[in-house]
């Protein structure tokens, strides 16, 4: 099994071209070609797409630019990469050949999780909520890369989820020998993402293992759960992941705060679900 895992890891890390959904790319291409678009508008729209955000952060944190692992918001990445490079990233991005319903669901779930993470960070008085939004957005990027690099295994996972009605997370473990949280850890390391994002991505299912920035894992863990409860997008199965009580306590969230967070998420929901046209 170890050799097989190593082989799969190699395949995952060799991912060259990360495609996104056709309507998303269409919209952003329109935007960069419009002279009146401001960097802020461009940052906002990139912040809604997990693949473009991952690409931009990977680029700005690459050793070529000389400050790996430092930059964790799209806004800052835009300042440092400049319009020219952002444009290069966008025009070289391709789209999925087929836009499957499960992919659309994953995109919506990721975007909902970004918004929810930001709201939780704001409501619990954490600094720099934008960084939590990015982490929430990317928390399932491992699923996208597995679907691309290991398509056969991905089909098996889907089959298992359907037939046995189990968590996607557990189906991944059965088929691959690891789940998307491991994949996230590998990718975050390989792409030189900052430590707080890396820990959020790696430990969003098990926040108690986060060593340096537990608040990121806690926030995304809870955001993921809320989005599942509210059925915003789809994480690939119809189950609820286990909510860890410690994460709630660590952030000082009580019933009143939780209600406030849910209200705010529902308020912002229109914006979330209308971004990705079907």
């Amino acid at each position: 099994m170890k050799d097989l895992i190593d082989e799969r890891r190699g395949k995952i890390l060799s991912v060259k071209d990360l495609p996104t959904l056709p309507p998303v790319l269409e919209e952003i291409t329109k935007m960069i070609e419009d002279e009146h678009s401001t960097p802020k508008q461009i940052a906002e729209i990139i912040s809604k797409d997990q693949v473009l955000s991952a690409k931009v952060l990977k680029m700005v944190n690459s050793p070529i630019y000389g400050f790996p692992r430092r930059i964790n918001t799209i806004q800052h990445a835009l300042v440092l990469l400049g319009f020219n490079v952002i444009r290069g990233i966008i025009i070289s991005t391709s789209v999925f050949d087929v836009m499957t319903q499960s992919m659309v669901g994953l995109w919506e779930h990721s975007l909902a999780c970004a918004t929810t993470s930001k709201i939780i960070a704001e409501q619990t008085g954490l600094k720099d909520p934008e960084e939590f939004a990015v982490t929430g957005l990317l928390h399932d990027i491992g699923k996208v890369v597995v679907a691309l690099q290991l398509p056969e295994e991905k089909q098996e996972i889907d089959k298992l989820v359907k037939n046995e009605d189990i968590l996607y997370f557990n189906a991944e473990k059965k088929v691959l020998g690891f789940s998307h949280d491991r994949v996230n850890a590998w990718l975050a390391e390989h792409w030189n993402l900052p430590l707080n994002i890396k820990e959020g991505l790696t430990y969003h299912h098990n926040p108690r293992f986060a060593e340096f920035h537990p608040e990121f894992a806690n926030v995304v863990h809870i955001a993921d759960f809320i989005c599942r409860v509210l059925e915003l997008g789809s994480g690939g199965d119809s189950q609820l992941p286990l909510l860890q009580k410690k994460a709630i306590l660590a952030l000082g969230i009580n019933f009143k705060k939780l209600a406030n967070i849910m209200d705010k998420v529902l308020e912002d929901i229109i914006e979330i679900i209308t971004f990705i046209p079907k």
């Binding site: 060259k16 071209d17 960097p39 680029m59 690459s62 070529i64 630019y65 000389g66 400050f67 430092r70 930059i71 964790n72 800052h76 300042v79 440092l80 990469l81 400049g82 319009f83 020219n84 490079v85 444009r87 290069g88 990233i89 025009i91 070289s92 991005t93 900052p194 340096f212």
Partner: protein, 316 residues
């Protein structure tokens, strides 16, 4: 040690592909891209030692590709050879010499010996990119002096900004040089992108050395450039500190006398002089004035800029 270099060949032409494979096989790994767009991503992520770009590439204009690659300080040192058809197109002739940013060109039908030599010379020349700052790859002092003296001699109106960092030394002392280099790379990117964003090709950025940078711009754009640089720098610099220092907003390091002292997070200071109706006579005078203004800006521990007061009314 001899390591094989990576060459990127961007062409839809199969005969060109096999020709260059034959010519360059021994010298390096040739990666061929039939489409320009697919090459861009790879160039941005893993810059090669040489790019051979075919004018026949059709999914994106070759001029746009050149602009994209050569417009960035981190990529502009990659040598680029443009491969043309039998003749040189008029659009290429119409580009002012200063703006035609390619390193060589090869015409069809291709003479094999010539192609080999040109490729070698181009790679060699690129490695001699001596004046560039070794860290940021921005133009160094020779180019800076030349550029500014040319503007002065032509009696062109322009703004000249001198930029440096406050408390850079104490940061370096505490975190070490490689962390300091990260800050310089970041600062270079901010200045380059801001100047480019605000004045396109009318601006110029150079790296004098250490934490000293210069830029030139049209007079009326200088103040906006200063404001934007300061805003971006102040937002991003905290992320270059360890979490604890970022949180408390200062570092403990040694001062010039070797005594332990508190230092605020780094700030950026800019001094700007204007050349109006040829009031400046030579580079030394211009730089001295700008440096003095920058020093004045530095007396504040926060990021700040000071503009030459001699700005005439019609520019305000």
């Amino acid at each position: 040690m001899y390591t094989k270099q990576d060459f990127f060949l961007i062409t839809p032409d199969q005969s060109l592909e096999s020709l260059f494979k034959e010519l360059l096989e021994e010298r390096g790994n040739i990666h061929t891209f039939n489409r320009g767009r697919s090459a861009i991503d790879r160039i941005l992520q893993t810059p090669p030692s040489l790019i051979i770009l075919d004018i026949l590439v059709s999914d994106i204009s070759y001029l746009e590709m050149i602009k994209l690659i050569k417009g960035e300080n981190v990529y502009l040192q990659i040598p680029l050879i443009l491969c043309l058809e039998k003749d040189i197109p008029q659009e290429l002739m119409d580009i002012p010499a200063m703006d035609l940013d390619i390193d060589d060109l090869i015409l069809r039908p291709i003479n094999k010996k010539e192609a080999i030599i040109r490729t070698q010379i181009t790679i060699l020349k690129a490695s001699k990119f001596l004046d560039a700052n070794p860290l940021t790859k921005l133009p160094g002092n020779t180019t800076i002096i030349q550029k500014i003296q040319t503007l002065i001699d032509a009696k062109r109106d322009f703004a000249l900004g001198y930029v440096d960092l406050d408390f850079f030394k104490s940061f370096n002392d505490k975190y070490g040089f490689s962390r300091g280099d990260e800050v310089l790379m970041m600062t270079a990117r901010i200045i380059v992108n801001t100047v480019k964003d605000i004045c396109g090709t009318q601006g110029f950025v150079g790296h004098i050395g250490g934490d000293d940078f210069v830029f030139t711009s049209p007079i009326e754009k200088a103040e906006r450039i200063c404001k934007e640089i300061i805003k971006s720098f102040d937002e991003i610099i905290p992320y270059f500190y360890d979490p604890q220092d970022k949180k408390q907003g200062f570092i403990i390091s040694k001062n010039r006398q070797g005594k332990t002292e508190r230092f605020p997070l780094m700030a950026i200071s800019i001094g700007v002089v204007f050349n109006i109706e040829g009031n400046l006579k030579h580079y030394g005078e211009a730089s001295q004035l700008a440096v003095n203004l920058k020093r004045l800006a530095k007396s504040s521990p926060k990021s700040s800029y000071i503009l030459d007061r001699r700005i005439p009314k019609n520019y305000e």
